[in-house]
Amino acid sequence: MQRSLVFPFFVALLVFSTTAQSGGIYGRVVSESESPIVGAMVTVRFGSPFQERTVFSGEEGRYAVSGIPDESDFLVRVRRIGWQDIRSPHSPMGEDASATDFTMTRLTDPALVAAQLPANHWYGLVLEQLDSEHEREQLVRQCTFCHQQGNAATRLQRSPEEWQKVLSLMARMGGGLDQEFGAKIPEIFNTAYDPATAVAKLTKGFEKPGFAPPPSAEVRKAVIDEYQLGGRSSMQHDMIMHPNGYAYSVDMTTDSLFRLDPSVPGGAREIYPIPNGSNPLGGELASGALPSNTDMRVGPHSLQVGPDGDVWITLAVGNQLARFDIDEKSFTTEDLPGGIYPHTLRIDDRGRIWYTIAVSNHVGVYDPESGQHEVIRVPARSFGEEVTLRLIPVLLWLSQHVDFEPSGGAGEGASLPIPYGIDFAPDGGVWFSQLNAHRIGRIDPETFELEMIDTPFTAPRRMRFDSKGILWIPGFSSNLISKFDPQTREFEHIELPIEPLGTETPYALNVDLVTDDVWICGTNSDSLIRYQQAEKKFTVFPLPTQVTYTRDVDFGADGSVWTSNSNVPAWQIETGVPRIIRLHVDGNVDMPMVSSNP
């Protein structure tokens, strides 16, 4: 790092996102030969718990980060694939601070370059070995359920015996593979992740300019904020932006609701413990294989804002709905009358809470005004599956009193259909997906009549309607988004552009109803992906933290795009703690936000 003379031009840039009490840092990112480095991520970390603000260096390598509290020490990290990270502590700078330039050093060790690549690049080495589409689909859907594949913690070579134990444990946690396919896994993974071949494949041509090109000028305008939220055993499963300007997030493994006020530099956080009664770890119907560091007893999973501003939450392993009074800061809970594992919820125009019920294959609806519940059974794929699903409550109860013969883990053949995402069409119709059954369904909001439609792609996950009544669906194991027209019943697929092609696992998407832009979780590639319908154009926004596993998207009133990093376990995340993330596409960060929102 070196200081250089003040450039008035950069001082002018600093006003783009600041309050009267905040400072900044600016300068250039250059190589040892003084050539500008374009597209480097310059990240400033300040506060405790921390906020990180990231910008991209532009033409001539220029960068400017503002919004840093005047009194804060801060840490700067400069990152660009192919170059050695720079980490540099700084003290507060006054208004007359000079420019701070960073000089990056080219990496010459290909192993270090390979380690900088997002997980999906590594995972591609596994996927390219699979000839069977059935096996590829199964692997992607079942083995990226909770965490990325191909990150530093998962791209390991293991003995066959260790692999079998891993597979057995993962099956007990819900990610099972066919036995025959499972037997091939050790060789497939060990071959793919052999450093002798993997590094060379991943870094071919890394010394040439075309390797890992910088993001486009459009992307480089973006500002990304990441707020540490929760602790090292946290899992910020879903987050939402409340119309009051606060972000709320549910921490599934610590049974907590978090509130973040992003109008305060660094973010002001409040934590509300959710009542978990006397539930045992894992809930009343614990599955037998929990994350080792969990404190989950009710498992808050998904959340939405009700018409009165209160926050509604599904408590997945508590088998309840919770209502959080945002004024009183207190919870009330509502037991489910049936079904197991309330999952994702949405609230209709009448204030009714609709939610998928994952394990028992239901969709539920609760009317807080009347206190009335309905639990709608979703059709099974076969008679055998129907019998199985109806026996689940009995079997769960029995499992706590009777031991069964050893299974060696659940196989893919026994996987449950899993009702998953849910949203409302403009006509009020309630649409939902069944992840493992590769179907979507519609429920009439008045008669509860139900219709199922097979999707011509695999693993429809969290889907949303746009303003014109088109349903957008991510294919978690099919590397695409699909637009479905409920009128014509036609699907149109659009392949995701993430390189290497076919390695993405889009967990969720959401549609910005102001622009009708579709925002997609780049769950395995540390990215957020925008699809602009009119231009039929994708734009990929890389996110700064390695192992950013995202499960939902929401929008701020100022047009910002929000998500959370909920990789499980959190220790796989770079720095080991979850964050919620705000992306300002145009770099125009308005603060304070609270006063600017209704």
């Binding site: 819900g174 099972g176 599955s287 294989a289 560091n293 394990v359 079997l395 009193h401 013969e405 080991g576």
Partner: protein, 171 residues
């Protein structure tokens, strides 16, 4: 998902009696656990430099030791080392040599909360539905013991939790 396991087994194979529910069998398992605890105390009576957590079990089962450190990262058979300095000695499986002891060591343990978990993923012989275990935690001048019974495919994530003070704080 284990639910599917249960369902599939119910449909295909039926279920067996939980032998740990039999008072005589439970008493036998508890005696076995107490005996394991004594054997473990006698095994390797060296004074550890840092923190050592050991799990002992019988040869008819494969049990797994999980130790979660203050940074909430867990050391176990599939995560051999942690950022807080934990390291597992070996994964003792059905075909492993005696002694059937798994061990996680932190040479310079960070202060904070530790959690010990025990899983029973598989049988090695016979058809036990439950298994005895003993856990021994050693750090200079102190020992913690825990013994008990775990059930097949039921991961007890917190058989023991304890705090380490800042005596071992690393530079």
């Amino acid at each position: 998902m284990r639910l599917t396991t249960l369902v599939a087994l119910f449909l295909l194979a039926g279920c067996g009696a939980d032998d740990s529910g039999d008072p005589a069998r439970l008493s036998e398992l508890n005696e076995s656990a107490a005996s394991l605890s004594e054997e473990l105390s006698a095994y390797g009576a060296d004074e550890p430099v840092g923190l050592k957590v050991q799990l002992s079990f019988r040869s008819d089962v494969d049990l797994d030791l999980y130790v979660t450190g203050p940074l909430a990262e867990t050391v176990y058979f599939a995560n051999h080392t942690s950022k807080s300095g934990g390291e597992i000695s070996r994964d003792v499986r059905c075909d492993s040599e005696d002694p059937r002891i798994e061990e996680v060591v932190f040479n310079s343990p960070l202060p904070g909360r530790y959690r010990v978990g025990v899983d029973f993923p598989a049988r090695c012989s016979g058809d036990p539905a439950a298994a005895a275990y003993a856990v021994l935690v050693k750090h200079p001048g102190e020992e913690l013991r825990k013994s008990g019974v775990v059930h097949l495919e039921q991961f007890d994530v917190a058989v023991l939790e304890f705090e380490i003070g800042d005596k071992y704080k690393r530079d």
